[in-house]
């Protein structure tokens, strides 16, 4: 009797394990920046992929870029992949590729990716793709309209004294503020090519210090303070600012005449993922113009396929980006001068 029931239980356990195993093969774990972003992707974007392919997507939240990079590296040492696909900014993409963190994908299996603008499929020497463009996002000049009715025309306005010591700026040097300063005051990014030049740019940013009351690490703190009027203006993500605006908050997100700051995000497959085939199907789906347009509408991010390929209206397009030549984070400078630049920047802020 007892033996029999043990056998039954064991049998059931085997069925259960096998069942889970076959279900696992059809599940793709996808990580994205935690919070609204990851939640919206899971609720609005991934279901279409599951419907088409039958592959379930398990969405997980990932922390801020360098912390996530550290976790991915520790996992790779243990030959594990915390996710089958992960959303990373180009700096992490390049650093990870340098140490062989990403799996190589076959571009032939991702027909949809052909729709992407040039340069968004990052290939190694063997023709394998280690990163596929996911989306772009803007950082803009945001203001609280209760305190500043007029939209700022130029990034130069940030340096004016009218902000009443109520600016909020990101603490990290890769926020785009270095590039904004270089383009606005030094005639372009060339000044960032030498350390002397970078020091000049940092000194210009230091002039903002008396005006800045919050050097933020945490987006939530900035947004809450801006909505409450504790801050009057600052640098912030355009997509999140738009959500606040649609929510009726007294906020404006402006693209100054020098352009908004644009950053690219890529999908990568960690080297030890067992689901490369499914990941390729996922990237095929995510790169299509229809999906890119859907992400623009639901997430407020900037699409990376040519505008003609999508059915976005002018109004929809204007709400996620602008036609102005954007300011681009000079990733090669940040990679080359990483440690030195981070120390200089931090010392400027905290001195």
């Amino acid at each position: 009797m007892l033996v029999k029931s043990i056998k039954t239980i064991a049998g059931a356990a085997v069925v259960l394990v096998l069942g889970c195993g076959s279900a696992m093969a059809q599940t793709l774990t996808v990580s994205a920046w935690g919070g609204f972003f990851e939640e919206t992707l899971a609720a609005e974007i991934y279901p279409g992929f599951t419907e088409e392919t039958g592959i379930e997507v398990k969405s997980i939240a990932q922390p801020e870029d360098s912390a996530w990079m550290t976790q991915l590296m520790a996992a790779a040492r243990a030959k594990k992949a915390p996710a089958d696909l992960s959303l990373v900014v180009d700096e992490v993409l390049i650093r990870g590729n340098e140490v062989g963190l990403w799996a190589g994908l076959d571009p032939a299996n991702m027909a949809g990716a052909k729709a992407l603008k040039d340069g968004y499929i990052k290939q190694n020497d063997e023709g394998k793709a280690y990163g596929v463009g996911a989306l772009a996002f803007y950082t803009t000049f945001v203001t609280n309209t209760d305190y500043s009715a007029e939209a700022p025309a130029s990034w130069m306005d940030l340096w004016e004294t009218k902000w009443d010591n109520k600016l909020g700026i990101v603490t990290t040097p890769n926020s785009g503020l270095l590039e904004v300063t270089a383009k606005t005051f030094f005639g372009g990014y060339e000044v960032m090519e030498s350390r002397e030049g970078l020091e000049k740019v940092i000194a210009k940013i230091a002039e903002l210090k008396p005006q800045v009351s919050l050097w933020y690490r945490d987006e939530g703190q900035f947004q809450q303070a801006l909505e409450a009027g504790e801050l009057n203006a600052g640098l912030y993500y355009h997509d999140v600012a738009m959500l606040s605006i649609w929510d009726g908050k007294p906020i404006a997100s402006t693209f100054p005449k020098e352009g908004g700051i644009v950053s690219d995000a890529y999908w990568v497959v960690p080297r030890d993922s067992k689901n490369v085939d499914a990941a390729e199907k996922f990237l095929d789906y995510m790169s299509r113009p229809e999906t890119q347009a859907l992400m623009a509408r639901k997430l407020g991010v900037f699409p990376i396929v040519p505008r003609e390929a999508m059915d976005l209206t002018d109004e929809e397009f204007a709400s996620v980006g602008s036609d102005l030549e954007p300011i681009r984070v000079q990733t090669h400078v940040h990679l080359r001068e990483g440690d030195w630049l981070e120390s200089k920047y931090q010392e400027m802020i905290a001195r």
Partner: protein, 292 residues
């Protein structure tokens, strides 16, 4: 350990000792696994080289420590010692006088305060920080209240500032110190104080000339404990302080997590550990000499 009491005899004492030894060996093992090994790992990593493309390279280099001896980090060290020192003294002074007042209350009110202080200790640092952030904000907090009362024409947010950070640090430490002081103050021998009062010494002089000296060693130990505790607090400086108030803890987490430069973060942490221990030893030596 688990023996029938009252049996006596050498063998019982011996096995008792063995059991005690076993227990202390166990606690030492726990300490080694969860404290000493991570500490040793931190010291080892502090000599590694940071790898801008990856994590770190195994090496032996003094480079990270050399970076510590720049004017910037030395300045941050001084500022960390200063803010932890000032807030530790504030915590202990405020807690001491508050406790003296509480122990003179009725039993019921004493209990009320004890429960209140215990519940304060349950609140996370982040919540305490956020509460102060709101209380000091110009739109919802004390400044706004002062404006409504007509006491402040042009209210401004009181944080971030050094004062706001101190308030946060004091809130964190004060319930712990008060709970430690409460039983000692309630059960103290009051005969000398009463004698002095009977002879006509004013109450305030009794406190300063008699009660305070009696408590001096305890207060000193508490100040040092608070100093160590508060120097490691991360949330209050980032949330309530200005960048020029950020302490070493903030810099360490910026380096180790933000910039993924674990070796420099580890070196800064080791340097800070050494300095804290030295400061503590020095102050214990000085105060012992003075108290004796």
């Amino acid at each position: 350990m688990g023996l029938v009491p009252g049996l006596g005899g050498a063998s019982v004492i011996r096995s008792d000792r063995a059991a005690t030894g076993l227990v202390s060996l166990f606690s030492f093992a726990i300490l080694a696994v969860f404290f000493l090994i991570p500490l040793a790992f931190m010291v080892v990593v502090s000599f590694y080289k940071p790898d801008p493309m990856g994590f770190y390279q195994v090496a032996f280099s003094w480079e990270n420590y050399a970076k510590y001896f720049s004017s910037f980090y030395l300045n941050v060290t001084l500022r960390s010692l200063w803010s932890a020192g000032v807030s530790a003294v504030l915590v202990v002074v405020l807690a001491f006088f508050a406790v003296l007042a509480i122990v003179d209350l009725s039993r019921r009110w004493q209990l009320f305060w004890a429960v209140l202080l215990l519940s304060l200790m349950c609140i996370s640092e982040v919540i305490v920080g956020f509460s102060w952030l709101i209380l000091l904000s110009e739109s919802a907090g004390i400044p706004r209240l002062l404006e409504v009362l007509g006491l402040w024409d042009d209210p401004r947010s009181l944080s971030p500032s050094f004062g706001a950070m101190l308030i946060g640090l004091v809130t964190l430490g004060i319930s712990i110190v008060m709970l430690i002081l409460l039983p000692e103050a309630a059960n103290r021998d009051r005969s000398i104080e009463e004698a002095a009062q009977t002879l006509g010494t004013p109450p305030l002089r009794v406190v300063f000339n008699i009660t305070l000296p009696i408590f001096a060693p305890t207060l000193l130990a508490l100040t040092l404990t608070m100093f160590i505790y508060l120097i490691g607090v991360f949330v209050m400086p980032t949330m309530l302080g200005r960048p020029s108030d950020w302490t070493m803890t903030v810099m360490i987490s910026d380096k180790a997590l933000g910039d993924a430069n674990l070796p420099l973060g580890a070196a800064l942490a080791v340097a800070m550990l050494i300095i804290t221990v030295v400061v503590m030893l020095l102050s214990t030596m000085v105060s012992r000499r003075r108290l004796l």
